[in-house]
Symmetry: C2
Subunit: 364 residues, 2 copies
């Protein structure tokens, strides 16, 4: 029996194409005796809706919970724009996050040296950029109740969403950020809107309390709107940024876009360590979406997906060396001048999904 289990959810659009490259990588690391993973594959998003009328089945959620790590592609596409709200593709993602309780979403925004030119920002501002956004993922306005639309009559409706945070939720995500900062640049920016939101007031209060346990880490408070600005102005001032679910959604996308490497960026979503085994539930996915416009053409960039697998090796299985090797292989093919269409550059060779996957594998 395999030592560890991976549950693969390729999803929709390019999700299925880029997952194929990860499957090849898993087969290879297994064959080399570097890993001993069993894999199983489920349906999520539009694919699940087409097959079962829901964004994800209870069986697949159960499998995701039972697995040592979930590797997720991407969901959504115009085909499912008009499915009932509760079955829209994104519902799969939200349900998995909540049921796996993976509250800590790690989104590294790294500028690959070979791609610094590809950023819309001036090269000197992003070259060597290495920011880690730590986004709270299972609370806030994404899940707070009430979350309703009420018909008031007279053609008027009222929509309500609720942002809720409790002390323990902020405490645990802050600790993740401080712990990670210790292994990096030793600096945390905590972003909220405490000048307007009570959840921001509590956020700041709890983060400052947690900071007392991390005297070696520098803590800066920053308003979320200013954080967005500063990311655009001088991104290299940041090391780790911790923020809530909604601000994290936006700020991590800004950070990702700065790097010029959106198709390159992975993410990890981690739960709390199990009190007995110490294991964390974990969910790995690329930052980019399902890109329906280029799906099925074999031209999607598999790097973010492969880098997500590397994150799984690192965070779920503590296979640091192998994770470094996979990441090194990605950097090496870029240095060789291989590019997928999304990152095409003059004097570089543009290749398809399969060729890129194969080139990375060949480096290993």
């Amino acid at each position: 029996m395999a030592t560890h289990s991976l549950f693969l959810l390729p999803g929709d659009g390019i999700g299925t194409e880029i997952m194929v490259e990860v499957e090849k990588l898993i087969a290879w690391t297994n064959a080399e005796g570097l890993t001993d993973f069993s894999t199983d594959t489920g349906l999520a998003g539009g694919a699940a809706f087409d097959a079962h009328g829901v964004a994800i089945t209870d069986e697949d959620v159960a499998k995701a919970k039972a697995a040592d790590a979930v590797i997720f592609g991407a969901v959504g596409g115009p085909k499912w724009d008009n499915v009932p709200y509760e079955h829209r593709p994104e519902a799969a993602l939200l349900r998995l996050r909540k049921e796996l309780a993976v509250f800590a979403n790690l989104r590294p925004a790294i500028c690959y040296p070979a791609l610094a030119e590809a950023s819309s920002l001036k090269k000197e501002l992003v070259e060597g950029l290495d920011i880690l956004i730590v986004r709270e993922l299972t609370g806030g306005v994404y899940f707070g109740e009430p979350k309703t639309i009420t018909d008031l009559g007279n053609g008027q409706k009222r929509a309500v969403d609720t942002q809720v945070y409790e002390t323990y939720e902020i405490d645990r995500i802050a600790r993740v950020a401080f712990d990670l900062a210790r292994t990096r640049g030793g600096k945390v920016h905590s972003a909220d809107k405490k000048n307007v939101m009570k959840s921001g007031v509590l956020w700041d209060e709890v983060v400052k309390t947690v900071a007392k346990d991390y005297a070696d880490v520098e803590l800066h408070h920053i308003l979320a709107d200013n954080a967005a600005m500063q990311l655009v102005r001088t991104p290299k001032q940041f090391d780790v940024m911790v923020t809530d679910n909604l601000f994290g959604d936006i700020l991590s996308d800004v950070a990702a876009m700065l790097t010029g490497s959106l198709g390159m960026l992975p993410s990890a979503s981690l739960g709390a360590p199990d009190p007995v085994t110490g294991k964390r539930k974990a969910f790995y996915e690329p930052v980019h979406g399902s890109a329906p416009d280029i799906a099925g053409k074999g031209i999607a960039n598999p790097i973010a997906m492969i880098a997500s697998y590397a994150m799984a090796l690192r965070y779920s299985f503590n296979m640091i060396e192998l994770a470094n090797q996979v990441e090194g292989a990605i950097a090496a093919v870029l240095d060789d001048g291989l590019r997928t269409g999304d990152i095409a550059q003059p004097n570089c060779k543009t290749v398809g999904t399969e060729e890129m996957g194969a080139a990375i594998l060949a480096k290993l």
Copy 2:
């Protein structure tokens, strides 16, 4: 008796310094017979707290309501970081927005040709940029109830903020955006998080209904996180962007930062036209803050403040020609190579607040 009344609220920090330059401009347009403004000045933010123990007095709120237009500087500073929450400097701004019911916040993000180099983005991406963010300003999570922090015992607290939107609030801000798009590029992007928030679902539904009355305007839906990304990637794809209070706060700051001209950008906040007189309550302020770090040094950039006065001429008094002249004078001094410290450039002359104000006046 003067024909129109302006109520000036310089606020804190550089707010008081840059307002002086506007006062000189008002005195001049009055003296030339171009305007007939009476002015009165009040206290807001930390200045009001120091004098009266509140962020703004009821008397000053009443004066703001009675005036034809309010010209606001900026509020806040470290001195007031620990005043009671309800008296923090920002409370003045939030109270004025709410009581004046200025629901439509217009934030132009224009890249002055002379400053295209100053952007952190590549010049070709921002040269000629002209985006108008139309932000809903009196609803959403800024004002929704409940807005509380509850002590749960055991060291746990729960913070709640509530995002609420009703149909009429979305309808009226959408109409402002569509009306303005007609006078510009004819394109509206509506940004929300309808994939996660019920208020986003209602937002999108109402905007699409309003769009039926504007067949000549192109409407695009965009998710708020993607909007933030796309602003950084290819900002010139946008003309008018309409969005809610919180997303508008962040997205307008990103848009402003793209231009490299943060110290240059004004904003207007408008109420509904009075059913009898047709007049709108109106509130004009620079997009930048009170910059306590450079306050009192006479080096602050007065251009955003002066441009806010130009917006008042345009939107509150329909003095389009004079507004154009003031804006033209700003562009002309920039073309002449005058710069304040925040926008200093090689081969340009760096001047102080007063000198910049005088140079603009001299052009008129």
